[in-house]
């Protein structure tokens, strides 16, 4: 038994019962059910509580517009709130619970809110929670926060996998109803590459929920045959369970495919456990057809929100598609002919029709003939309903009462135009259907067919789908389709606009999900909110998970009536992506945890791991930060040892991460002269020069060394952080500023494993590695020399005599594939010289001791003057940044200068970020004289040192100032000194 409300017929498989649970109660449904249809089949009418008043709520619809039947699915880490039961495909073991109640669903303690409703109208908290002021943070806000929201998240990491992907097609058909199927059929038959996407798990749209005949066969059978035919077409891709949620630029659509939502959760560690649950596709289209159908709207009357009051089309869908009667005695309330179809279809299934109430007077009689026993109330209205946890009777304007356990309401159909306005297009009003249809401004190359465009009959859906496909085929150069338009009878579609029962005296719900009633709209109007946007923000109409799919037009209608204007005069409703909610996990896809971003590894990474190195992220790179040794406690001990040993004997460090750009061409020197402040065209072959690059605005951009390896061959190095930016900037200059130059740029950063070997014994160490025919004596290979040579018996290499540490130092580069072998060789050879590997911390300490600027100093607000590099700025040539670097403001006499700082109390710690103040000055912005940009403990000097920028620093050596560090609560007297703490004359590096 799969439920006492199950009736014959439908597309469910009666041989496949499925067990599931709701609020812990074990129930049974059928293959092909949604959770909603299975709940209805089991007579579960009460499925949730409303947002504000905690009113009992039942299932309203049979689609993604559902505002009421929001449930929590699954348990534990997979707990998922706010899931629409109406689109949740039933599977074995599905566990659903209702949400938004305190206590049980049947006896919600917060239902007291309904009694307090006079105090809880729109904007009540703006007015209520004003006093006392001290209550706001401690009482009111926690109270409001705890009662806000619907379901609850698990608070645990999502254990499922998600993915993303990219698809391309000639034509994306959005929606596989009659219009979409006929469009896909015509386009696919002509050989166009078609993607047909539909959010339902059975394609066919309303054909599966209606009893219309197509080409002489039942509509759902025609749909199934058409889908099967499309599946056989090589150029057609069918994507069921797939929602096109957004129309973005350049014909790109955001699409969510639910791959595993309809299957039981996988056991962690099972063979399929990594199969993605959902896939976020970017679909690149040449054309798209919006065939998303339409959504029925309710009518506002007193107590129109009781369980059992449903949309008429949904009641029909549950009967025809799912074989479920939504009640034993069903009444219909309609303002249009379509509502009558519900009565007719239910009557055919022997369901008792309590009454048909039509707001129209029907002078020509009923649009559809019903059994004579069915009471018909033309020109009549439902003004109220009764029933605590579900409707039991309805009250008509005439005072007549009708007993019914289900009321099917049809206020007409709103085209699902959402995607058509994702580019800001405004819909236009169509009086014939009393609804909005897409305006002129669609996303480019998107056309609309069928009900989505306001053509609400089956025949017009087929005609428009076929015609739009023909237009697409013609525009893309495909032959026309010879397939005839499917034949369907045009059903009646007359409607008389009717939104709200005027005689209603109590609250009539407009937005079910947010508990917005006609009274809230009236209040909003009374308080002066005339704009639709204001109405929305003040009342919350149209917000939350359903985004007002069943509420917006009725809200507009209510507002129009209050202001005496027409609906189009009152305003329109526009839409932004997404059409239905998309989980954040789907947007993240696989980019989570260690897969968030790619990681770049240095060629010595494996070796460094073996040495127990501690690593640090520098951009995408992982670099060795220091190399702890047994017995060392804390990083400082390791770093101090690495610095001392390097300065006393030798040390080596992987510096591969610095950007390397090969610059070739007969105009390479000219090119460099234009991008650097200094001159490089005069650099001799075999020599290296330090270069400074400015931005157009004259601010320092990047620095590094550039070596000349041949007549038309230079090798530039950049900072690690700016490698990509500099390459991009140079490529822009090459292609756009000076296309006349013969110069080419190639990144070789990854191609060369580069190691710094520094310290008094570095030359001796290198002599054991570099092949003996290459003379690296001080005379033959002086400071700032470079050469292409061989190492280790013939391996090609490059050697640069440059120093970041201030020591006698070299950088040795070998092709990256030899990097691992090279570092092992350096380490082994270094044993004889007591050489140690050092990481980025020691690198930083040594460059601060030497007073070299780095990223902290080139921070986008400093100039060559600030950095003490004015001498490097040529006045004899033009280069990027030259003109704006001359601005007076950048050349003030009191400009900050890069200086060194030592604490007066040598035991005092220093930290970057401190600001400099005169000793007697208050810490105010006006008194700020500069900032400490880098600081470190110098194991050589035995105390902390810092470098930073201070006004007129070069004239103030020996002066004591305050280093005021509000973040760390420090206030330290420091002495201004030269930034070159060690070997200021450079004897070491030239030795």
């Amino acid at each position: 038994m799969t439920g006492r409300f199950r009736i014959p017929g439908g597309l469910v498989d009666r041989t496949q019962p499925i067990g599931f649970s709701f609020n812990g109660r074990e129930l049974s449904g059928l293959q092909g059910d949604t959770l909603a249809s299975a709940l209805l089949a089991n007579g579960q009418r009460l499925v949730g509580r409303s947002f504000k008043y905690h009113r009992p709520r039942g299932i309203l619809s049979a689609g993604p517009e559902e505002p009421n039947a929001l449930v929590q699915l699954h348990r534990g880490a997979r707990l998922e709130p706010n899931t629409k039961a109406t689109v949740t495909e039933l599977f074995a073991g599905l566990a659903a619970t209702s949400q938004n109640h305190l206590g049980s669903l049947d006896f919600d303690l917060l239902a007291v809110n309904d009694l307090l409703s006079p105090f809880l109208t729109a904007g009540f908290y703006y007015k209520t929670f004003m006093w006392p002021k001290s209550f706001w943070e401690k009482v009111y806000e926690p109270l409001i926060r705890s009662s806000a929201g619907l379901g609850r998240l698990s608070g645990e990491a999502d254990p499922d996998h998600y993915d993303k992907g990219f698809l391309h097609c000639d034509l994306l058909v959005i929606g596989a109803g009659p219009a979409g199927l006929s469009a896909a059929l015509a386009a696919g038959e002509s050989g166009a590459r078609v993607i047909l996407a539909d959010e339902d798990f059975v394609m066919g749209g309303r054909l599966n929920s209606e009893t219309h005949a197509v080409n002489g066969q039942p509509g759902h059978e025609w749909a199934a045959r058409t889908v099967a035919e499309l599946a056989e077409m090589e150029t057609v891709r069918l994507m069921p369970r797939t929602t096109v949620f957004g129309a973005f630029d350049h014909g790109i659509y955001g699409v969510l495919e639910r791959r595993r939502d309809h299957l039981p959760p996988l056991a962690d560690g099972s063979s399929d456990s990594r199969q993605p649950r959902q896939i976020l596709w970017h679909i690149y289209t040449k054309r798209a057809i919006l065939a998303s159908g339409s959504i029925e709207r309710p009518i506002a009357f007193t107590n129109n929100d009781r369980p059992g009051i449903m949309l008429a089309g949904a009641v029909r869908a549950y009967a025809n598609r799912f074989g479920v009667a939504c009640g034993q005695r069903v009444a219909v309330f309609t303002n249009n002919d379509d509502g009558w179809r519900t009565a007719a279809d239910l009557q055919d299934k022997d369901i008792d029709i309590a009454a048909v109430v039509d707001t129209r007077s029907l002078p020509d009689g009923p649009p559809i003939h019903l059994n004579a026993r069915v009471p018909i109330h033309a020109g009549e209205e439902v003004v109220d309903t009764r029933g605590r946890r579900g409707i039991t009777k309805l009250v008509l304007a005439s005072g007549k009462r009708v007993r019914a356990d289900c009321l099917a309401v049809s206020g007409g159909w709103n085209p699902s135009i959402h995607l058509s306005s994702h580019h800001g297009g405004r819909p236009v009003w169509n009086d014939n259907i009393a609804g909005f249809v897409p305006g002129e401004r669609h996303p480019p190359n998107l056309s609309v067919a069928g009900a989505a465009g306001g053509s609400l009959t089956l025949g017009s859906a087929f005609r428009e789908g076929t015609a739009q496909a023909a237009a697409v085929l013609d525009s893309l150069g495909y032959p026309p389709s010879r397939r005839p338009v499917p034949e369907a009878s045009d059903e009646p579609a007359a409607i008389s606009a009717f939104w709200h029962v005027r005689e209603s005296r109590g609250r009539a719900w407009i937005d079910f999900q947010n508990d917005v009633t006609d009274k809230d709209v009236r209040l909003s109007h009374r308080e002066g909110y005339r704009s639709v946007e204001h109405l929305k923000r003040y009342t919350t109409l149209g917000m939350s998970t359903d985004q007002g799919k069943t509420a917006n037009v009725n809200g507009l209608a209510a507002m129009a009536k209050l202001s005496g204007r027409t609906i189009p005069e009152t305003g329109t409703t526009v839409f932004r992506p997404p059409w239905t909610p998309v989980a954040i996990a789907a947007f993240a896809g696989r980019s989570r945890g260690r897969d968030f971003r790619p990681v770049r590894l240095t060629p010595s990474h494996r070796w460094a791991e073996e040495q127990g190195a501690v690593f640090v992220e520098t951009g995408s790179w992982l670099r060795a930060q220091w190399f702890p040794r047994p017995g060392e406690h804390g990083w400082r001990q390791s770093v101090d040892r690495e610095v001392r040993t390097t300065r006393n004997t030798a040390g080596f460090c992987d510096v591969t991460t610095l950007g390397k750009i090969d610059i070739k061409g007969t105009d390479a020197g000219t090119f460099l002269d234009r991008v650097y402040t200094g001159t490089f065209s005069t650099l001799p072959i075999g020599r290296v020069r330090y270069g400074l690059m400015l931005r157009e605005d004259g601010i320092a951009y990047d620095d590094g060394t550039t070596a000349r390896l041949g007549e038309s061959h230079y090798l530039m190095t950049t900072t690690t952080a700016n490698a990509v930016l500099v390459f991009r900037q140079l490529e822009f200059a090459r292609q756009c500023l000076w296309p006349d130059l013969d110069v080419h740029l190639v990144s070789v950063t990854d191609g060369w494993a580069q190691f710094s070997v520094a310290g008094p014994h570095s030359r001796d160490l290198l002599r054991t590695i570099i092949d003996p025919q290459h003379d690296i004596s001080n005379a033959a290979f002086p400071f700032m020399a470079c050469s292409e040579l061989t190492v280790c018996g013939g391996c090609a290499a490059r050697l640069f005599r440059i120093s970041f540490s201030g020591e006698l130092a070299y950088e040795l580069a070998v092709p990256a594939r030899f990097g691992d072998s090279m570092i092992r060789r350096i380490a082994q050879s270094g044993l004889a010289f007591d050489a140690v590997p050092y990481g980025t911390e020691a690198l930083g300490v040594m460059r601060i001791e030497k007073g070299h600027a780095s990223g902290n100093e080139l921070d986008g607000q400093t100039t060559a003057l600030n950095l003490g590099l004015s001498a490097m700025v040529s006045t004899k040539k033009d280069f990027i940044g030259m003109t704006l670097a001359k601005r007076p403001e950048l050349n003030r006499k009191d400009a900050v200068r890069l200086m060194g700082f030592i604490p007066v109390d040598r035991a005092a710690p220093l930290a970057a970020g401190a600001h400099f103040l005169a000793r007697d000055a208050d810490p105010t912005t006006e008194n700020d004289q500069g900032w400490m940009s880098s600081a470190a403990h110098s194991p050589i000097l035995g105390h902390d040192i810092g470098i930073g920028f201070i006004e007129r620093g070069h004239e103030r050596v020996g002066e004591i100032v305050r280093a005021w560090d509000a973040v760390r609560g420090r206030d330290t007297d420091v002495e201004i000194v030269s930034p070159h703490f060690l070997d200021p004359k450079g004897d070491r590096l030239r030795g």
Binding site: G165, Q275, P276, P598, G665, V748, G794, R817, D820, S821
Partner: protein, 202 residues
């Protein structure tokens, strides 16, 4: 590890010579080749392409494509179009000898018509072969993989999982993917994940 003091330096493939058979694809790190970037000197495209043709027997490729040898012994030789004035030559089986300047004589042959830069160590190369290659790439590659849009012989520069990639379609179900060598591990992981996510268990 062997004593390297007397044996020179040992080359280590960026992915250790990875190869793995999945249900519908084989994924292999290609290591027996050299890459040489060719930049065309200003206004020298005709002279350079003629010299390249004379030296390699291959035509300079049209934009968005690569050219390849037709004889058995040079069927893996490729010239890849990269930009209006740039290309990349993929030279198979040169071993570890050298570094960059490619096939002996190429530099001499080209002379001042262009500039060569060794790129072998800048790129990791993965070859993806099998019926599952297109579905796997759909999860990675933003380009249109349909054969009408990307026929065999196509070369394109693109982005996969934030990484720069040069993709070559060698046959309907065979692709050569080049990506920067420093992030080789992440690139392999991205391709493996795509294979596994499309049902390609090992």
């Amino acid at each position: 590890m062997a004593d390297i003091r007397n044996s020179g330096l040992a080359a280590r493939p960026f992915l250790g010579g990875y190869t793995q058979d999945f249900q519908t694809v084989r994924l292999t790190e290609v290591i027996d080749f050299e890459l040489v970037h060719v930049a065309i000197a200003k206004d020298e495209i005709e002279r350079l392409t003629e010299k390249v043709r004379a030296e390699s027997g291959l035509d300079w490729p049209a934009p968005g494509s690569f050219s390849t040898g037709e004889r058995d012994d040079d069927s893996d030789l490729r010239i890849v179009w990269l930009a209006a004035d740039q290309g990349m030559i993929i030279i198979p089986k040169s071993g570890e000898s050298l570094l960059g300047t490619g096939r002996t004589g190429l530099a001499d042959a080209i002379g001042d018509a262009g500039y060569l830069t060794g790129q072998t160590d800048n790129w990791v190369a993965l070859r993806l072969v099998g019926t599952g290659s297109v579905p796997a790439l759909e999860r990675l590659c933003p380009l249109d993989l349909h054969e009408t849009a990307m026929p065999p012989g196509t070369a394109a520069r693109t982005i996969m999982e934030h990484l720069a990639v040069i993709i070559l379609r060698e046959s309907p179900e065979q692709f050569l993917l080049l990506s920067p060598s420093s992030s080789a591990g992440s690139f392999l992981h991205a391709v493996e994940t795509s294979i596994l996510n499309t049902g390609g268990n090992t």
